[in-house]
Symmetry: C2
Subunit: 408 residues, 2 copies
């Protein structure tokens, strides 16, 4: 094997469902030198990151930290730490990631109950409450934004319902956080997970998570201490968490004042996660959500201006991603390929029943910008025309520009 040169990625404007182009300052943060894991600078940076993410999540939860892995790692940590084998878990499924939560709960040997709605729709709270009454779960696991369908499940009434029925409320906000409203405390969320690679504008590989006191109580009751660092008086719960890496009790002790050794914190990803939150809060949480809302509205208008049909319930779509039906006669993957090759712009396909039927176009994080929206629309227009679609000249960019003009 010839040894290859240093990594040198091509220019890409990532306008798919994620990962998206990171904020330049997040990329820079990752090239900062490493420090030791118990260096006072490191532990201070960890504490600072926790405090930044409390603001991102809108919570006072002490237990706010990062799981070292992709967003799926955060999901599995939440589920295996909160769910005992045999526990009933209710998962309302409105897209691919609902299936994923169910799958992970099955792996944890939960008794999983799902309810489903058509792809492109969300659940009214009353339907979720009826299922809770029927199933009597210990945990409700509910995706907020499912990128596979672009839907944004309303959560503001769910925490109250869960509390009334004594159910823990867990939500995954990977696709939605920082691009749509999220209020961990106000909505009564017991556990929430995310990733950096969507609206937070960083790379995949670190999963922010926040846990209520009630959730921490469940996790603490399932403690198991490593033999190698066991001290007098430490005992194991019989119902210990069936994972060491994802045992949030141990991860809490590593992040907390005891600083008990667990994994070795992924320093560069910590720097990235810290910078994602710092960029967000410097611009302002509400301002960033508003920027996503505007970019999303402009992309929607632009796609419609190109004569495309939007998939799903537009009233409930996430701001940061749009699904459009692939026009008749257009080979979806070849057209996406042309967009990538000729313009350096990536948009996404979808999963399962929607594969080959819709494209997904994202406007997230750094790329929730006017120039990114308009550039994508003019390139898309050119590609559609080349594939024989009778697109109105300038129809996309004009409609999107109008949205931006009205917003000034």
């Amino acid at each position: 094997m010839t040894i290859p040169g240093p990594i040198d990625p091509p220019a890409r404007l990532l306008m798919g469902p994620g990962p998206i182009s990171a904020y330049p300052s997040v990329l820079r943060a990752m090239s900062a030198p490493l420090v030791g894991q118990y260096d006072p600078f490191m532990t201070a940076a960890m504490a600072e990151t926790q405090e930044l993410y409390r603001q991102v999540w809108a919570t006072h939860n002490d237990a706010t930290l990062l799981v070292d892995g992709t967003s799926r790692a955060g999901i599995e940590a939440a589920i295996v730490s909160l769910v005992r084998p045999g526990d009933r878990v209710l998962v309302p499924v409105f897209g691919r990631f609902g299936h994923l939560l169910a799958e992970i709960a099955e792996r944890a040997l939960a008794e999983v109950h799902t309810i489903e709605t058509d792809w492109g729709q969300v659940f009214p709270p009353s339907v979720i409450e009826e299922a809770i009454v029927r199933v009597k779960p210990t945990l409700l696991a509910l995706v907020q934004g499912d990128t596979s369908t672009t839907m944004n499940q309303p959560l503001d009434e769910i925490g109250e319902i869960c509390a009334r029925h004594g159910v823990l409320f867990y939500t995954d906000a990977t696709a939605s956080l920082a691009g749509n409203a999220f209020e961990a405390d106000a909505w009564g969320v017991d556990a929430a997970t995310a990733g950096l690679q969507k609206c937070l504008g960083g790379p995949s590989g670190s999963s922010p998570i926040t846990l209520s006191e009630k959730a921490v109580g469940v996790i603490r009751s399932r403690a198991k201490v490593e033999a190698g660092i066991r001290e007098a008086g430490d005992t194991d719960a019989e119902d210990f968490v069936r994972s060491n890496y994802f045992d949030l009790g141990m991860i809490l002790d590593y992040w907390g004042p005891r600083r008990l050794n667990h994994h070795t914190e992924a320093t560069s990803m910590l720097y990235a996660a810290r910078e994602c939150a710092r960029v967000l809060l410097t611009e302002g949480r509400e301002a960033v959500i508003a920027r996503h809302e505007l970019a999303g509205r402009a992309m929607l208008a632009g796609a419609q201006g190109l004569g495309m049909t939007v998939f799903g319930d537009v009233a409930h779509k996430m701001s940061n991603v749009l699904a459009v039906e692939i026009p008749d006669g257009v080979p979806g993957d070849a057209a996406r390929q042309a967009l990538l090759t000729d313009f350096g712009i990536e948009i996404g396909t979808s999963f399962g029943p929607l594969h080959g039927r819709v494209w997904r176009i994202g406007t997230m994080g750094y790329n929730a910008r006017k120039d990114a929206v308009l550039t994508t629309l003019v390139a898309l227009e050119a590609v559609l025309r080349r594939f024989g679609v009778a697109v109105p000249a300038g129809g996309g960019v004009d409609a999107a520009s109008d949205i931006y003009s009205e917003a000034v």
Copy 2:
């Protein structure tokens, strides 16, 4: 909360047991722009990284890839994917990380059997074989280099023993890989895991792993397919892997030609892992191991030249880390603190029975360098003197310099 500024770590020479200062080019690689997870550039970079790590591990294993998480994530992925609940697992324990392997196997509900030796010693192969005959495990889980004691367990005869008794042979080489010999194929290793933050000279957060065909066979027999991406004909094994994130069968399908969606690859950590291997192979695998051997020998001579007593069986220590007894009357943590504060140099303490008794000094990756060794020794001399130890002036740096002079 006042929003803090960009991350700005202090100057640190990391001479502890890891993490250590990364190669500058690895830090640079992480600031490269992101691409989509199915971008042809990304899939090519993944394939390239696999091929680079085949050389790092000295293997032809097709199943050579990264687990997205710290080295502990790789360990748990190997164990939960290879071990069924109730399977017997044999763990020879010669330090803290042996206990960790046992702990992770317990969490996976294996029937765990351990044998122990004194900290500072390794196992003769015959002792391991006797235990295999007695326990009849399905898996032997054995750390190669245990940083807690600095010992390097000889592995060259273990694969043959395991094969003869029909036992899978798994080893964790996090602390040892790239600083000491490792021959996955020649030694008959079925599964091996590592991390970047030791001799590979990168940040924690990505875990290289390699699996023999036999190991892959076991993993494939335990497949479970996500409902969200299930296709006609897919069926679940009854004895499916009790984790989604760590199911190596799914991770293999993501890295392999099917490119089945699982997690979203941690792009920046992939860039880092690729660069770690690239730096290693550009210098030459044997040359890098020799550089670690020389730096380790110089640090050992230097510590002895300062009158310090080495802990453990020197004939079996890893090249890249040294444990020395803290001189009588010296407050170990205060002296380490002085080294950090006044010289910007980090060395380590240890765990369990060795905490407060030994310091651990590493010479790994980028820091397996003459200037790093000599600088550490002069600073250590100054600190020891300040804490009242009658150190021979220049005794450390002279002894280490002699080693380097002889080596020219």
